[in-house]
Symmetry: C2
Subunit: 767 residues, 2 copies
């Protein structure tokens, strides 16, 4: 690939980027798209933003960039949680280290590489890109020490910056822990593998165990129910309700353009719905212990156990409870919104086997994916393509086509394939039985990361030079040499990859193309009402691996092929702006890992550094420079020692909470007399079955409130729950509710929806 081809590619991408950014700055100002671009703010700040943007119009502007840059870390933390801050720090780290690397390598190493061999240079645009890599430096060159020194500086500064960030995030994590409002998850453990007895119910077993062994701190517990028939019906009812609501609301909205909602179009359905709910409430009061006995066969081997203090919960989660480590397995509970309910009731003993199956599945998938990637890699080798597909020779002779094919096409096809990866990995992570959404996403993030690094970096590097990359695994000794031969040669591909995948993905992230189209279809084709509830959460499992992969590319190419660095730096700057904007405006944070993405990032950076050093070792070996190669070995050792130090010094803080801080918090609560209030709030913190009836009921009542201005029975029910914390909370809404009645409700709702659809069709014709 030549400089001119690269410039063509860069030109296309810069053009696209500018286009997309301008488009975005216009589109975001259209009221119709406000849901797409300000989902978080609308969901959190409730309608306030609606009218604010209608005056500004079709002029591209840069105000959003300024806003994104101006917001502080505290604002991000408040708006999008600690994970967003961690993601932001990853970008900041990347910008810092690659600014230095770009400065150092572009001005220090690039000229050395370019004049490395005593050859006649043609005009720069016609120059091959390989001439800017270390491949152009003479064997036994006396200038290789410059590369070695640059490597030392880049790695050294990277480690220092990494340590500063690690410490900063560990501090933030602790602050997040201590400064937040009392978090029910800190007082709660999730117990799995509860032994079954014939005599006692699951609930009694839990109660007896914790009353016996944690009597001083045990508060109460809440059994997790098996997601069986009841849950299915409940989910069905909820879905039906949601659909029903959309249609009603929409019709109301379109019908009279006012905010005066009428509950339903047809009285019968509304009655059936209300009947169900009132009965539900009536039953709730009556049924006591008999109903809990009824549900016993649905009870399962998991429970949330609540403690008086944070410290007690921590202790209970850390120690081995009994002499059977597969029973009474306790972990700190995830936050209430974060709980992955549908997994909890599955038996704990399946966990280890599921982990192994997932691991094997992911690895197999990782290696099978190689096939299309290898094929794509073949595309970038023009000669090979012309040989294999002779009929293309005519087309490929055109210069423009050649440049397009070599510079652009491979990455695009690869990109399309890669879109499949994240959902598949997410599915794998679901099979792993995570207890929380955040755990699932983090696990998927790791899988996607391994996948990306293997399939984009290694497969591309190695398949170009040797027959099959699987062979490399079988001769680890030769890996440095193999990599050293391949990486500088593949730098061209990586530059185009940064241009296409990096820049373009940022633009499309900003544009939210899918969201935009879906919003359009939803609004104007399906004519559904906007769903305020549904705001996506940030896809850390795809974005973190992406940014880390670019970091890996940057490190490995920094000393060997520094031409990539300016492009990368642009990517990171753009990413910094775009992601901040997206975190602040688009995505909503429902759950948070509490900074657990950082150790992944740290490990990846360390891996990238060591890989860079190993490749440099191989290159220096190939260039027969024993001094440079010799000096690289201590650098590898030092980097690994640094990593080990970080593991000892900082990693434990990301695995557990320090007792000191928890005890201090407990005492502070006690001093301020908040303890009882916190304990009360715990009772309603975790609710397995989302209040399918409560939600519609409250909504209906609240909607009615506008007219009635009175206190709703829905709210008073809520107050009752808080005032009577001693009652059995294990299953507040479903107690004693006959399954047949629920089924009846679902049927009636479904019937309603059908009616409604017909009505809206005819109504749509009328309007």
């Amino acid at each position: 690939m030549k400089i001119s081809a690269l410039l063509t590619s860069a030109g296309i991408n810069i053009g696209l980027c500018v286009l997309f950014l301008s488009l975005y700055s216009v589109l975001r100002k259209q009221p119709a798209n406000v849901r797409v671009y300000f989902g978080r703010r609308i969901a959190e700040e409730n309608e306030r933003l609606r009218g604010a943007f209608i005056l500004e119009r079709f002029v591209p502007s840069t105000g959003w960039i300024v806003k994104a840059l101006q917001c502080t870390e505290e604002e991000i933390l408040a708006a999008a949680g600690l994970d967003a801050v961690v993601f932001n720090r990853i970008l900041v780290f990347s910008i810092r280290i690659f600014s230095l690397a770009a400065l150092l390598c572009v001005f220090g190493i690039l000229p050395l590489n370019y004049f490395g061999k005593d050859i006649k240079h043609v005009r720069i645009p016609s120059e091959s890109l390989d001439i800017f890599t270390i491949g152009n430096v003479e064997v036994k060159s006396r200038w290789l020490w410059v590369h070695c020194v640059a490597l030392y500086i880049v790695c050294g500064v990277a480690c220092i910056l990494l340590y500063i960030e690690y410490k900063h995030i560990a501090r933030l994590r602790l602050l997040h822990l201590t400064s937040a409002t009392p978090n029910p998850s800190h007082f709660t453990i999730l117990v799995r593998g509860i032994p079954k007895t014939a005599k006692e119910s699951c609930s009694d077993v839990v109660d007896n165990f914790f009353t016996k062994y944690h009597s001083s701190s045990y508060l109460f517990h809440q059994v997790v129910y098996k997601v069986g028939k009841v849950q299915k019906i409940m989910t069905g009812a909820q879905k039906a309700y949601t659909k029903f609501k959309h249609f009603t609301d929409e019709t109301v909205d379109q019908g009279c353009r006012t905010i005066t909602y009428r509950c339903c179009l047809c009285g019968t359905s509304s009655n059936s719905f209300k009947l169900l709910n009132t009965e539900c409430e009536q039953n709730r009061g009556k049924t006591g212990n008999e109903s809990s006995l009824k549900l016993d066969d649905e009870e399962c081997t998991a429970a949330f156990v609540f403690f008086k203090t944070r410290y007690a919960a921590l202790v209970a989660s850390e120690i081995l409870q009994t002499s059977n480590p597969m029973k009474w397995v306790a972990n700190l509970a995830p936050e209430p919104e974060d709980v992955y309910w549908s997994n909890l009731w599955l038996p704990y003993k399946q966990l280890w086997i599921r982990h192994i199956v997932t691991l094997i599945g992911s690895i197999v998938f990782m290696f099978v994916f190689v096939i299309p990637v290898t094929f794509i890699q073949g595309l970038s080798q023009l000669e090979l393509l012309q040989q294999r597909l002779p009929f293309l020779r005519g087309i490929l002779k055109k210069k423009y086509m050649t440049q397009l094919v070599t510079g652009y096409l491979p990455s695009v096809i690869l990109q399309i394939f890669l879109y499949m990866v994240a959902p598949i990995m997410m599915r794998f992570s679901t099979v792993e039985l995570p207890t929380s959404h955040s755990e699932r996403k983090r696990s998927a993030c790791c899988k996607v990361l391994y996948f990306t690094v293997w399939n984009i970096f290694f497969v591309n590097v190695l398949s170009g030079t040797i027959l099959s990359q699987l062979n490399v695994l079988s001769s680890p000794k030769d890996i440095p040499i193999q990599l050293a031969r391949a990486v500088p040669g593949q730098a061209t591909f990586f530059i185009t990859y940064v241009l296409t995948s990096g820049w373009a993905s940022l633009s499309s992230e900003l544009m939210q193309l899918f969201g935009l189209i879906w919003n359009f279809i939803r609004k104007y084709v399906l004519r559904m009402r906007e769903d305020t509830e549904f705001v996506p959460s940030f896809p850390y499992h795809t974005e973190v691996p992406k940014v880390l992969l670019f970091g890996l590319l940057g490190f490995t190419c920094s000393v060997l092929a520094p031409l990539i660095l300016p492009f990368l730096l642009v990517y990171f700057f753009l990413g910094y702006v775009v992601y901040r904007n997206q975190l602040l405006n688009v995505y909503r944070t429902r759950y948070d890992t509490g900074g657990l993405y950082w150790p992944i990032a740290h490990n990846t950076v360390i891996f990238s550094l060591v890989l860079t050093q190993v490749i440099c070792l191989g290159v220096f070996g190939l260039k027969e420079s024993p001094v440079a190669a010799g000096f690289t070995i201590p650098l590898i050792i030092l980097t690994l020692l640094f990593n080990q130090y970080c593991r000892n010094r900082l990693l434990p803080l990301f695995r557990t909470f320090p007792a000191q801080d928890l005890i201090d918090m407990d005492r502070e609560d006690e001093r301020s007399g908040r303890t009882d209030e916190i304990h009360h709030r715990l009772h309603s913190a975790y609710c397995q079955f989302p209040d399918t009836e409560d939600v519609p009921l409250e909504k209906i009542k609240i909607i009615g409130e506008d007219e009635e201005q009175g206190s709703s029975s829905g709210e008073s029910t809520g107050k009752e729950t808080r005032e009577d914390p001693k009652r059995d909370l294990s299953h507040p809404t479903l107690k004693g509710l006959p399954v047949s009645r629920l089924r009846h409700a679902v049927k009636s709702i479904t019937f309603l929806i059908r009616l409604q659809k017909r009505a809206s069709r005819t109504g749509g014709g009328r309007s």
Copy 2:
């Protein structure tokens, strides 16, 4: 190697074994050797055994074998601790599995191998040993499924037995925990990495921290002092005292042949000694806080912290104390006798770097050791030897010499080299900063195990077939094939290894040659008095790897070259008898890991099984039997899954204690009112500086007691300690004792010893 050579080797070894066993049965009955062969019993049952054996005399007998076989597991547990039981169970497991394997393979597979190829068989004694291995089976043989089935049976039964043993030992570990008398180590944690402050002393810092954060359960603490000048002088004084005591006692013993001891020969020395002690006691009462201030610069970053309950200590040891994971690092304390005092005061932050250094050191040592082993391996290839050293050709032509050289010599030389390994690995483990003797020994055990498996199994297997075994590491894909080619060929070497190293090492273990000779020299040449204090503890770090290595050889050869199994079975039977006898009579258990050797054994057996399966996979591949090879792969997966299950189900019990049992024990103590007594006893449990003065003082007093029949001041001092638990216990005997005085004491004792030596020389001449 031919059958006849093997028989020669076996004959020599059987002869030697019988000779040694008979010699042992005679020697053990000689009163002079009673210290060598009954060290444990004498040390523990104090002199009672002395007169019991004098009547029986120079007739070899088998009574000891019967006794060793008759003793139950409970007796071993009581006499030698849980580690001894674990070791015993490893032997039992080996006997069981290899009995089955021998039965199955010798009668099922050996004939198949022997008649595997359609060749003319010569007389069996002249037959090469290779004819009994799988190497003799034809390619594409239709009998290979028998090997595959045998492999399945052996691996399946091994896993079942392994699981039974694992569960049994886990149960014993819990029993050991619960049934024992209250153990001070359960109430104690060892805290390291205590932050230094300028204002407060270390002791105050510890006190403040635990009073603040563990107020409900914290009892008191004891600071570990830096082992500096004081300790050196103390150790010097103790050594001097011990020598001094020997000479005095011996002279007394020789002089009048009665048990009436006089304190000392020369009054002056006795006075100086007494003076020191009384002063010491006087100072002990007087000095309060001033002395602790004096010792502040000697105080260091470790302390024992005592808790009211076992559960509280467990909790404190499991949780992360503060937001700096390198500070306030708490672990459950080792038992008082087990503490490795000289390491405790070293800074905790050195730990990780020392671990890495040790790891690298051990690996380097492991690979450097290859050189002599490779040379030795060359010796067994007779042709090579004759080529290299032509002058030996004459000697080697003699048939007997040939057989000796090929069958015997290599193992003997190897054995001599291997004797160096254990002390070196022990030294490495000491550098790792273990906090207890048992931890140090266990760590050394692991290192010796890795070393042994690599250097005896892999190096021998691989160096015979390819140029350098290091090359194998660089092509992991070919390992199964390489091993499959090499292992059946090396079976001959392994058989001789079992004969020489295995059988002979058991005989020498039983004979205690070094002990015997040293005892003789000590008694009749140096004329020193017997040292009842010094009884060695069982060398688990050499014996566990040895037994596990033979297990590995057995598994890998079982299906491929079953001829090794009978020899191995004899080894295990003999080992069972010998080790039981030694554990009961010779060695004394000072410290115990609580069964932590079992996970090592389990992992090694799993490794052996998987290795066997991989080798069989390679062999079946070489023999072009896709069915057999195909069926081996699920076996590997199943074995690994089994291992994972054990890791989940049983391993956690070996890492920590279950809270349930500890809480039950705490409650039991409370019910029976023993709590206060236990707390009192904790005060004197851990003593950093062994009571150099107290020991002699008490001894002297107790010796005097025989004449005086009165209450000794030494005992009353002991009572005082118990009655006054509130006093500062951090350093009971040394407080306020001026260093100059100690130095004076040492000088005077050294002077005494010189005097004494002269006296005994002249006395020896007289007697």
